[in-house]
């Protein structure tokens, strides 16, 4: 009960008025950062880090972690309103969130996204509170083969998602993988596919590609079809939050499953991005037929990735605190921040700085609740952004996109690349090439390849390593099953028909 006492202590500290004020400042700043694709959570945290020295360590970490929560919430806003995911884990949110906004249901999508984020984060915090040591031990079991297996599972759960031509899906996927290969090969340290061009050394950043393909591509498609973002008639109406909330409990099973996927992926250091894709894929597989199809504005398509991404984002803090491995750039900067207060992340943090750790955990509970309230109040205003005339909003989006693409690597060339991807995205969209597989392959490609090759190095080229223990074997088998699921279900369907015929 010692821990319980510490947690209660933490609550007392987190609930001090001054700390609540800091939380609100942090959340608002975080949302701003999350909305502007040029500012990642890492930027915000890094820039404010020096300012926090005037605060006590607990207050400072409350402020910084609230910026982190705010940025997580904020990432969904641009995904839903403008089809521009600010962070890798918001990509899956665009698949159904943006179509919802187009059909005039922006406020509903935002409410669903924020609420699911909150649910996912909350489940993850509860997990951190009660099973932290157990979970940290589990994370240690994840070496390169296990990591590859998880990535494989993420791809497998997503395969067959495209409704378009399989050939085009294959081409888009391969193009994504190929783009991910450009630059420095992290396993041998040599350059590849750069053709001697300095600008290609850093490779193609996911964000640059996605801003182009999704953001710019969308503007081009919209203008071609007329001069407006469709469904721009969102009204400022608070009752939509209440109405959406009344609908959400129906999806409790989905939320639970997505939270589970998120927590699991966050603890294994795979992180929020594969979690969001995997959760979306699984939701689609397991959804009941009928209603709006996935990809056309189905609310489950927003709930699943958002819940999982946030469950993962929060539970990734656990390996960071307990093992010293950051799960994302933002977490890495937070990690650096801890060290500046003389707090060394790692197994000893829980022992020697228990008060700090439990204070942080308590602030996660409170911070998330404060955050949810703040962003929900703002939903109608966010949705109203869509009423701004196209000529204005398109120009602003273009400006924000160029800033976003530039700041990824502080490189002008990336802005040019972004524009190129914009034209490509327009053409691909018009010709029914699916963009999601390209982005998925680009985001996860290099880490998957690296994990595969690390595994090969350590097993001396023996592929059996992927079935060498129960953990990796189970994940790989699950991946294979998911991969061939469409075939299975078709066969099962055929058998059922046969049986029905025989008995009938």
């Amino acid at each position: 009960m010692d821990q319980f006492g510490l947690l209660m202590n933490g609550f007392a500290v987190a609930l001090e008025p001054w700390n609540i004020v800091l939380m609100m400042i942090g959340i608002v700043l975080g949302v701003v950062i999350g909305v502007l694709p040029g500012l990642g959570g890492a930027n915000g945290v890094a820039i404010l880090l020096p300012l926090t020295f005037t605060l006590s360590p607990v207050s400072a970490i409350i402020l910084l972690s609230c910026i982190y929560w705010g940025a997580l919430f904020g990432g969904a806003i641009t995904s839903i309103l403008f089809n521009i995911p600010g962070e890798p884990w918001s990509v899956a949110t665009t698949f159904d969130g943006y179509p919802m906004a187009q059909s005039g249901r922006a406020a509903e999508a935002l409410t669903a996204a924020f609420t699911s984020s909150f649910v996912g984060a909350f489940v993850a915090i509860i997990m951190i509170t009660f099973v932290a040591p157990l979970v940290a031990g589990f994370a240690l079991r994840f070496g390169p083969p296990e990591f590859f297996a998880v990535m494989f599972l993420a791809f497998a759960s997503f395969i067959g998602m495209g409704t378009g031509s399989p050939l085009k899906t294959l081409m888009a996927t391969m193009a994504g993988f190929l783009l991910a290969c450009v630059g420095l090969d992290s396993v041998t340290g040599s350059l590849r596919l750069t053709f001697g061009a300095t600008e290609l050394i850093r490779g193609f950043d996911f964000l640059v590609a996605v801003i182009g393909l999704f953001g710019i591509g969308e503007i081009l498609t919209s203008i071609e079809e007329g001069l407006a973002f469709r469904g721009a008639s969102a009204r400022i109406d608070f009752s939509v939050v209440r109405r959406t909330w009344a609908e959400l409990p129906r999806y409790w099973a989905l939320s639970l499953r997505s939270s589970f996927i998120g927590c699991w992926m966050g603890v294994t250091p795979a992180g929020a991005t594969p979690a969001s894709f995997m959760s979306y894929g699984v939701a689609r597989r397991m959804s009941k037929p009928g209603g709006t199809p996935f990809g056309k504005g189905r609310i489950e398509g927003v709930i699943a990735p958002e819940t999982a991404a946030h469950a993962a984002g929060v539970s990734a803090l656990l390996p960071m605190l307990a093992l010293g491995v950051p799960g994302s750039p933002t977490a890495a900067v937070l990690l650096g921040g801890l060290m500046m207060w003389g707090l060394q992340p790692g197994p000893m943090l829980f022992v020697e700085q228990a008060e700090f750790v439990w204070g942080l955990i308590a602030s996660m509970y409170i911070g998330n609740i404060v955050g949810l309230i703040l962003v929900l109040i703002a939903v109608p205003w966010f949705a109203a952004i869509l009423r701004v005339p196209f000529a204005v909003i398109a120009a602003l989006i273009l400006v924000i996109c160029s800033i976003g693409a530039y700041t990824v690597n502080n490189a002008w060339f990336d802005v040019v690349v972004m524009l190129g991807f914009g034209a490509l995205g327009y053409a691909m969209k018009k010709l029914d090439y699916p963009l999601a597989p390209l982005v998925l392959a680009l985001v996860l490609g290099s880490r998957t390849e690296q994990a595969f090759r690390q595994s090969m190095l350590s097993s001396q080229g023996d592929l059996g390593v992927f079935w060498s223990n129960w953990l990796v074997g189970t994940i790989m088998t699950a991946g294979v099953v998911l991969l061939f699921w469409p075939v299975f279900s078709r066969v099962r369907g055929a058998i059922k028909v046969q049986l029905a015929r025989r008995s009938g």
């Binding site: 950062i33 040029g38 500012l39 930027n43 915000g44 820039i47 050939l167 294959l170 081409m171 391969m174 193009a175 993988f177 190929l178 290969c181 090969d185 396993v187 041998t188 040599s190 590849r192 596919l193 053709f195 710019i216 503007i219 081009l220 203008i223 071609e224 079809e225 001069l227 005339p389 196209f390 000529a391 204005v392 398109a394 120009a395 602003l396 273009l398 400006v399 160029s402 800033i403 530039y406 700041t407 002008w412 802005v415 040019v416 524009l419 914009g422 034209a423 327009y426 053409a427 691909m428 018009k430 010709l431 390849e449 595969f452 090759r453 595994s455 090969m456 190095l457 001396q460 080229g461």
Partner: protein, 163 residues
């Protein structure tokens, strides 16, 4: 552009995009072979994955190209002339915006882009458009340059102002 041009057929667009993918795949295959695309004792070499991925892409793109050749040209329209004109009305200013960015800086370029869009695509009056453009640039400058200390490309105007 010739007078006969009135639209791009889907067939032509399909052919073009498939050819682009095939060309990219070809480049990747060539470079992968250069750095070694085999499987050595301790797993795949640098070029192994790019090579096979490139090969699959190449084959898929060629197949796509071939099936697009089989389409009839008049079947479907990719985009009409008016549609392309509208796309160009956004894309060309955006391209100019990006092109002049290293010279005049991002802020001035952005102000011009916003003003241009508002007068050309929207029907705003020139004064309102100009003011909006300047406001955008100033807000962006305050948020990024001063508030978050993110350094964006700057031109002579900012230098003159002492930044």
């Amino acid at each position: 552009m010739s007078r006969r041009f009135s639209e791009i057929s889907t067939r032509a667009a399909e052919l073009g995009l498939a050819a682009l993918f095939a060309a990219v795949a070809g480049l990747a295959i060539a470079d992968s072979l250069r750095i070694g695309a085999g499987w050595s004792d301790d797993g795949p070499r640098s070029g192994y994955f790019p090579f096979w991925i490139g090969l699959i892409l190449l084959l898929a793109a060629l197949w796509q190209f071939a099936s697009a050749l089989g389409m009839r040209a008049r079947d479907r329209t990719f985009a009409t002339r008016e549609e392309l004109g509208r796309v160009a009305s956004v894309f060309i200013p955006a391209a100019v915006h990006v092109a002049v960015m290293p010279v005049i800086g991002l802020y001035v370029a952005s102000a011009l882009l916003v003003a241009w869009f508002m007068t050309r695509i929207g029907d705003f009056r020139i004064t309102i458009a100009a003011l909006s453009g300047i406001a955008t640039a100033v807000v962006a400058f305050i948020v990024f340059e001063i508030w978050f200390l993110v350094s964006l490309p700057k031109g002579p105007l900012e230098t003159w102002l002492g930044y």
